[in-house]
Amino acid sequence: MKLDYAPLQRDLAEVGYIADEALAMALCLMIGLGRPLLIEGEAGVGKTEIGKALAQVLETRLIRLQCYEGLDANATLYEWNYQRQLLAIRAHERDAMPSEAIERHIFSEEYLLRRPLLEAISQPASPVLLIDEIDRADEEFEAFLLEILSDFQITVPELGTIAARSIPHVVLTSNGTRALSDALRRRCLYSYLDFPDERKELVIVRARLPGIDRRLAEQVVRFAQLLRREDLEKTPGIAETLDWARALVGLDIASIDTDPDAVQASLICLLKTEADLKRVPREVAARLIGKVG
């Protein structure tokens, strides 16, 4: 068990993910203790990206389970391939195969469609299991997930119990659209991801867009930071900043104070609702650009 998170932080930076100390430590503990990590934060702070970056660093598979309301066991564990089963029954009937043999055959692993959770525990090497937006799934699913995350085994009535070949690294993310149960919170390590400060965001932009002009990157980040302080419906996240930076580079804009029209038009990368766009008209944008300097 190592508490030294610096190597992991460096590795993450190498694959383009800038993690602060708290997050690097959380990931370190998650790997060391083999416990799931629950990450909360506003939309667009890079929660989902953690899973991808971690899988890259650990050189392992990323298995992603996107949660939604109504998600149930069939969609997360396994399903039988009914069409193939029906075809197999027909085919074997012609061969005059005894019905028990057919049954054994069609309920073999060959006909099993693995869904993310089953897939995750049957990997030879620990994969990263990203359970995205757990707050969107219903409470029943949360309870069910708890059971899987503590036992790491899945029972298929027709096949028997499938035990985990390796314990996955589990990352859960939540946007806080619903209060999660205390039981789940206790099972998990916890980390809260805030919007990055200016320095960190600049590093992220430059890591993701190596070609960007240094001065433009600074302006973009400074503008995004100022914009977050405005009273907006949907505060722009890092993804939005990156989109905007990409757009400006694509438009061949060297500095955001040179071409107000193009900048104003490209603000749609940062502001995602009509009300927010109206709240940042030309004058407000000009004021912010003035502050960026």
Binding site: M1, L3, Y5, A22, G70, R178, S191, Y192
Partner: protein, 388 residues
């Protein structure tokens, strides 16, 4: 690991527990095992590690550093500890400063009341409990002049109606399918399984359907001066809605918003009432509906509302905020909630038209605008809400 360190760590866990963290022996063990396994990496790293291990939500995450410093470095203990202890106590909404003046007169009475709370919902000697209630009741009377103080029969009636109302709007279709004999879809998984003995020929079909799932209810009650006559029995009505088995949440607002679901769930209605009346008449005066709704949208809406939520606002619509602000907040509210119902007691008055500017604005966003000036009118809502 030396024994002294272990004792210090378990002391730290106890310290965190006192401040509302859900940490116990299992966490102590975990922390010790983490600390023991590595050469000591320095205070900063340990702090981060413990933060990850012990925090469970955003609030705890934000408060951790302060508490950590308080325990290990003795910084700000005096200030931090008492203040946090109050905030960490559960099942009790923090008491706004403004009540203190009102509470001073019955300090002994409310002290007894608090003792009763800590014993876990009653169980205190009969005589003490009654004495306290009389005290706070007369107190509430003297301060708020509730002329239409509700009789027990009326209160019971309000709760009964609320219960029926809750039943009327209890269900909505879920997206998850479950087996059903007369479902509208064929459940292939079960059909195949069922017909194995017939060589896989789907003779006997299994079906599934979309079940109904409970609606969530969020009630926002205007407890301002202009609503005073009605708020008493609306509160009973709210109790009925909340007390039912459905997911529900309740808020009072006047110039600001107070979360009152806990007080409403109080098993002893009189204790709950006392707590509520303290909340309600502590402020009184004007109404700032838009501000209250903004607080709700900013702080609570994301967690409490989803596509199965019905929001009920009970207000006369006399607002000191601008109608534009109200429109903005109602639009935000409407986007998160499934249905928005506005109950206005004034609508029952003869010749009333929603001329209050706020009300005129609100009509654009409301799915159901109904009267609520009497118990009979509340009962009439049942049919209205069942259709929502």
């Amino acid at each position: 690991m030396i024994a002294g360190a272990a004792a210090r760590v378990s002391g730290f866990i106890a310290h965190m527990r006192r401040h509302g963290f859900s940490a116990g022996p299992a966490e102590t063990e975990l922390v010790l095992s983490v600390l023991a396994a590595d050469e000591v990496p320095g205070a900063a790293a340990i702090r981060l590690a413990l933060k990850t291990l012990l925090s469970g939500n955003r609030e705890q995450w934000a408060r951790f550093d302060e508490l950590f410093d308080a325990y290990w470095f003795g910084r700000g203990v005096r200030i931090v500890a008492p203040a946090q202890a109050e905030a960490g106590a559960r099942n009790r909404s923090p008491r706004p400063k403004i009540w203190d003046k009102a509470l001073l007169r019955e300090e002994t009475a409310s002290a007894m009341g608090r003792a009763e709370h800590s014993q876990g919902n009653g169980g205190g000697p009969e005589g003490r409990g009654t004495g306290r209630l009389i005290a706070s009741r007369s107190d509430a009377l003297s301060r708020t002049d509730l002329r239409t103080l509700i009789t027990p029969e009326e209160a019971a009636e309000a709760e009964r109606i609320a219960e029926r109302l809750a039943r009327a709007i209890r269900y909505r279709l879920s997206r998850r399918r479950t087996p059903a004999r007369r479902g509208e879809m064929i459940d292939i998984r079960r059909t195949i399984r069922r017909n194995l003995s017939r060589g896989g020929e789907p003779i006997e079909l299994r079906r599934k359907h979309r079940p109904e799932r409970p609606v969530k209810l969020v009630v926002l009650l205007d407890a301002s001066g202009s609503m005073e006559v009605y708020s008493r029995y609306f509160i009973n009505f709210m109790r009925g809605l909340i007390g039912g088995r459905l997911h529900a949440d309740a808020f009072l607002f006047h110039t600001r918003l107070v979360h009152v679901a806990d007080a409403l769930r109080e098993r002893d209605p009189s204790v709950g009432m006392t707590r509520l009346s303290l909340m309600a008449d502590g402020f009184g005066g004007g109404t700032r509906i838009a501000t209250a709704l903004k607080t709700f949208n900013d702080r609570y809406a994301k967690e409490t509302l989803d596509s199965r939520s019905v929001v009920i606002v009970m207000s006369d619509g006399y607002d000191t905020d601008s109608p534009q602000a109200l429109a903005v907040e109602l639009r935000r509210l409407k986007r998160r909630a499934h249905r928005l119902v506005w109950l206005n007691p004034l609508l029952g008055w003869k010749g009333y038209a929603p001329v209050a500017r706020a009300m005129a604005v609100a009509l654009d966003y409301v799915d159901c605008f109904a009267t609520a000036h009497s118990l009979a009118s509340l009962a009439a809502l049942e049919g209205e809400l069942a259709r929502l």
